[in-house]
Each structure stands twice: as structure tokens, then as C-alpha cells.
Symmetry: C2
Subunit: 290 residues, 2 copies
């Protein structure tokens, strides 16, 4: 299969490499071309323009960093969309707004080009190891067609029509941000009351309160290690995207609202660049704890 | 080891049976004696009074249903505490307030009787199968002494001094109640936006948003099956115990406060007897969804 991949950043680079290693013909483009060049060693062809990269592609994988950038690359002056053959499928695997994804799908549709929104969870490690969780919105036939691509990256699930993948990614981020708060407040309550946080985590592991967040982010709280993997500022942006999307579709999200306030206050207090488990620091400092 | 178990209700009955099956000498007492009688078939001796049951015991396991009931059985007119030999250890495995547990430990201490607070998570199924999570507060030596008892029930962790077990149980209930809210609001957002809830759950399984709550309670939401295992009214009571305990120890818990309001509103709206995953129904009905 002829594949193109646009955007060889911290996610796109290892993903392009996995496609090469899976035996696909891969054309790549990146705004800063130098960052893409090392992919030549894996067999990728590095193009000067996005239009050049996509011209022969059956499937175009986008890992550009925001909705407006996707729009400018696809539909701007040197637009890549017009360079695509009819029947091409664009799979946007970056996290952008559900509304933007639906808009891109509609505009590509008028050119005879299909679209899937397929954001991922699992970070750079998941991208390198092929263990990403992929949340896919769009048509079932396009999802089937993309199976060989998704197989190189991780586990994909088709969740609904255009925009549903992005919506599911937002739901994922909501659950992550709220569960971090639950774990932080619970561990701090125990510590304030004289229990040992590490023992509390050990005790409740395996019970109903157990979660990936308890295991990963709970451990970061116990270790007071807030080296950023996902930043507080990004968690806040995600929750604001949830609320903006909720408003667009007429959905009331009282829990997310409360957490948007908490993360915003934490960012106001100078915690923007901590890992999102740093909500622990905000709740601790409200309680005169460290 | 000579054991006594007080309170053979829905948790105490299967736990007494497991102690018998593990080869211990077990004396039991229950306010309604008839409910304890079937334990004779497993080798337990059923006593007329709590004082009679505990007189020869090395360890007394309490599964009475509230702090005031524990207090009346131990310290009331026909008080069991005075019937115990010096050196006896009382292990209270019911969920009562941390303050009550510390008070019982102090009062028993004046009689030369030791105390552990050791509430459990895992319900009747965990009690029957010996897979309970046991959160233990008290002295390390008493924790060691109780190992054969805990081994019959599940996995025990010593989390800190007197009261810490109850505090950890509250922390467990906080995390459960808050994570239920996160999953409910996230699944409903997706459904409102056109995604399929069951597919959303499938997609995010295995990622950072995964949890026991997503798997168990998320499935109940998808199935709209709110047959009570843990009731909304009990979840609300647990959160109120968290807030009361937080106030006692001077801890500010802004997240738990918000959830206490949400569960209280749900109970006001007639949802008291649903499973606690029924917070989904409250958020759905605010959004005109079912």
C-alpha cells in the first residue's frame, strides 16, 4: 500500500518508522524537513511539499499539531487536498477538536477524498512500541481499509461517525484528569490523617478503586516526581476543549466544570509545567502540606 | 487459634465459615441468634451472648454494622470488653468512622486489650471467595499476629496507626464515587455527540483512562442495569463521612465536596436505591437523555 505521513514530530516520527518496518511504501513530509531526513534510513521518501508526498498515496496519515495547521496544509494555497487522487483516504491521528474533524471530513468529501479521525492515547512510548490506543470516527468501510495501518500502531476501535474519535479522545482526557484528582485528594486525606500514602496505594490496589491512574500517577504523587509527561497546562486545555464541545452539542458537564476550575487555579499558582498528576501539589498546598 | 466472630450478617456469615474451613476454633455471636445457627454445620460454636463468645478468644473479629453498635456491644451493660482476657486482640472489620475506631482502641487499651481497624472492600463475593482487600490500622505487632485470620479473608495491608484502616476505606470510597462520575459524564458526552458508548468503553480500555470502575460500573451504565450492589444512598453516606473526617482533621477536600452535592441531588431526585453507578441517570436526566 502507498502511504503518506504528514508531520514527523515526536509522535509522527516513530509512527512513520513503524510503517516502513511493516513493509509499506512510505512518503513523508514535515515543515522542518531536516527532522524527517533520518527516516530515509528506514526506506521512507522525504518530500519537499505536502502535495508531493500525498500525490500517489492510497492513505494519507496526518500527525500535524492542531486543527488550524491541518486546515492550512490540506486546504491552504499549496493545499495538499487538491493534489490527492479521488478515492484517497485521509486518517488524521492527531488530537484536534471534534468540530474541526467533521469540517475536514465534509470538505474532503467534496473532492472525493474520505476521512477518518483517529486520535491516539499512549504517548511516544506507545508510538515507538506499537501499543497505541486508537479511537476512530468515520465510515465503517474506511475503518476496514485502514486496518493494515492501524495494525502497525496498536489497537483501533471504530466508535461512531465523523468526529467520534476526537470526542472519545476528549472523554479519555476527562476521565484521566478527574481520576487524577480523586487519587490526589484521597491520598492526601490519608496522609493528613496519619496513614502512609504508599501503603494506602498498596492496600487499595486490586480493589474497586484501582486504575491505571492510581498505579502510574499515584506513584508519581508518592514519589513527588512531577516531571512532565502530560502537562497541567495541556490537561487544562483538554478540559476546556471538553467544555467547548459540550456547549456546541448542548451537553451539561458539571463534573468537568469543577475540574476545569481546579486545574485553572493550579496553573494560576504556577504549576502549568508540572505533570498533570501535579494537581496533587495544588490540593496539598491548599492544606498546608507538601 | 481460638477465634470469636461477632455479627454473622451478609459479610460476617461467609467470613465465619471461611475461618471454620481454615481449621480454626470459632465461637460466634449474632443479635438474631437464628441467623448464626447454620454455622454449627461448619463447626462453629454459637453463643447466647457476645461476652460468652469472646471469653476464651485470642482474637475477636467484629463485623457489627455501625460504630454505635460496636460501642454498645463492647462497652454497654453486658459489655463484651470486660469478658475478654488481657492480651486479647479485637479486629474490627466493619466500616465505621476513623474517630470511632481510635476511640475503641483507646478504651480497650485501658483493659489490656489490643485493637486493629481492618475494614474491607470486595463485598459478599469477596467474603465468600476469600478475595477481600483489607486495610489495617493499628500496631505492627498486632497486624503480624492477625496474619492467619487475614489470610482466610484475602489480602491485608498495614497502612498506619489506629484509625488508618478506616481512613483508607474512606479514601477507597472517595475514589470509587468520583471515578463513577468521571466515567458517567464521559460516556454521556460521547453518546450525546453521536458515538456509541459500548465502543467508547472498548476503545479506551487498556489506556490511561482504564479502571475497575470503567470495566464494572461503566458496563452497568451501558446496560442501563442499576440493580444495587453499592447503593447511591450509601455512596452519599460515605462521602459525608469523608467530609466529616476531613473537617475533624482540618483537611479541605474540594473534589469530594462537589461530589457530595451531586450524589445528594441524585438522591433528592429519587435515585437513592439505585446502584451508585446510577449517578449516570442523574447526569443523563440533566441532559434530557435516558
Amino acid at each position: 500500500m502507498n502511504l503518506a505521513l504528514l508531520g514527523t514530530g515526536f509522535m509522527g516520527f516513530p509512527m512513520a518508522r513503524r510503517l516502513c518496518e511493516a513493509g509499506h511504501t512510505v512518503s513523508v513530509w514535515n515543515r522542518t524537513r531536516e527532522k524527517a531526513l533520518p527516516l530515509q534510513a528506514f526506506g521512507a521518501r522525504v518530500h519537499e511539499t505536502a502535495a508531493g508526498a500525498v500525490a500517489q498515496a492510497d492513505i494519507v496519515i496526518s500527525l500535524l499539531e492542531s486543527g488550524p495547521i491541518v486546515e492550512s496544509v490540506l486546504f491552504g494555497d499549496a493545499g495538499a487536498a487538491r493534489a490527492m487522487r479521488a478515492g484517497t483516504l485521509v486518517v488524521d491521528m492527531a488530537s484536534i477538536k471534534p468540530r474541526e474533524a467533521r469540517d475536514h471530513a465534509a470538505r474532503l468529501g467534496t473532492l472525493g477524498v474520505s476521512h477518518l479521525d483517529a486520535p491516539v492515547s499512549g504517548g511516544t512510548v506507545g508510538a515507538e512500541q506499537g501499543t497505541l490506543v486508537i479511537m476512530v470516527g468515520g465510515k465503517a468501510a474506511d475503518f476496514e481499509r485502514s486496518a493494515p495501518v492501524f495494525r502497525a500502531f496498536g489497537r483501533a476501535t471504530h466508535v461512531g461517525p465523523h468526529g467520534s474519535g476526537q470526542l472519545t479522545k476528549l472523554a479519555n482526557q476527562m476521565i484521566v484528569g478527574i481520576t487524577i484528582g480523586a487519587v490526589a485528594e484521597a491520598l492526601l486525606l490519608c496522609e493528613k490523617g496519619g496513614a502512609h500514602m504508599d501503603k494506602v496505594k498498596e492496600a487499595i490496589t486490586g480493589g474497586f478503586a484501582d486504575s491505571r491512574i492510581l498505579q502510574l500517577h499515584g506513584q508519581r504523587m508518592i514519589d513527588r516526581d512531577f516531571t512532565p509527561r502530560g502537562r497541567m497546562s495541556v490537561q487544562l486545555k483538554d478540559l476546556r476543549n471538553v467544555l467547548a464541545t459540550a456547549e456546541e452539542i448542548g451537553f451539561s458537564a458539571p463534573i468537568t466544570q469543577r475540574f476545569e476550575q481546579l486545574y485553572a487555579e493550579a496553573v494560576d499558582h504556577g504549576l502549568a509545567d508540572l505533570d498533570h498528576s501535579g494537581l496533587f501539589v495544588e490540593i496539598a498546598s491548599r492544606n498546608g502540606m507538601q
